[in-house]
Amino acid sequence: EAGVTQFPSHSVIEKGQTVTLRCDPISGHDNLYWYRRVMGKEIKFLLHFVKESKQDESGMPNNRFLAERTGGTYSTLKVQPAELEDSGVYFCASSQALSGSYEQYFGPGTRLTVT
């Protein structure tokens, strides 16, 4: 079974530019999550999709961040325009059921550097 994949693995952009991150969840997983880890800090929740719907986007930092999940399969996270403080590692995760002791399966992350 293929795991969660993310693209690109690294991205270096200048302040003010736009970047789009992609996440492909495990096939059949309706739930998809985005997280971010700034260097040395906690991994913080950004948002949660159930199929194509945004279930919870309370962790999105501001309106420069836009997440989509068209068709309920892969998801994209766009940052426009990027700022220096957006640098960090962006993780995607997916899971099946929400009830009980479910686990989230994480991708390798995209390391974003804004210069």
């Binding site: 997280y35 993780f91 929400l98 686990e103 994480f106 390798p108």
Partner: protein, 113 residues
């Protein structure tokens, strides 16, 4: 609100020695506790979890963790460390009614040959 503390940024241990990576938590309710590991250039991998039952939980790669309710701790342990255990370890907590875990800052484990 829920929170996790990993008090050590880095843990150093010699190969073959026992290791402990500390985690304490705070939740209003019964906790679901998790440990994840991140190897270089890899994603977070699930190691083990505590939901209910036996306080000692065994997981992947010979790791185990002990849930201590009175001390609100969930320390990760391994009897004999391997150099290949060197990685970044994250503790996480959520309550049963929440689907989003709260993570700690991570602890870098370095096992010396």
């Amino acid at each position: 609100a829920q929170s996790v503390a990993q008090p050590e940024d880095q843990v150093n241990v010699a190969e073959g020695n026992p290791l402990t990576v500390k985690c304490t938590y705070s939740v209003s309710g019964n906790p679901y506790l998790f440990w994840y590991v991140q190897y270089p250039n890899r994603g977070l991998q699930f190691l083990l979890k505590y939901i209910t039952g036996d306080n000692l939980v065994k997981g992947s790669y010979g790791f185990e963790a002990e849930f201590n309710k009175s001390q609100t701790s969930f320390h990760l342990k391994k009897p004999s460390a391997l150099v290949s255990d060197s990685a970044l370890y994250f503790c996480a907590v959520r309550i049963g009614g929440s689907y989003i875990p709260t993570f700690g800052r991570g602890t870098s484990l370095i096992v010396h040959p």
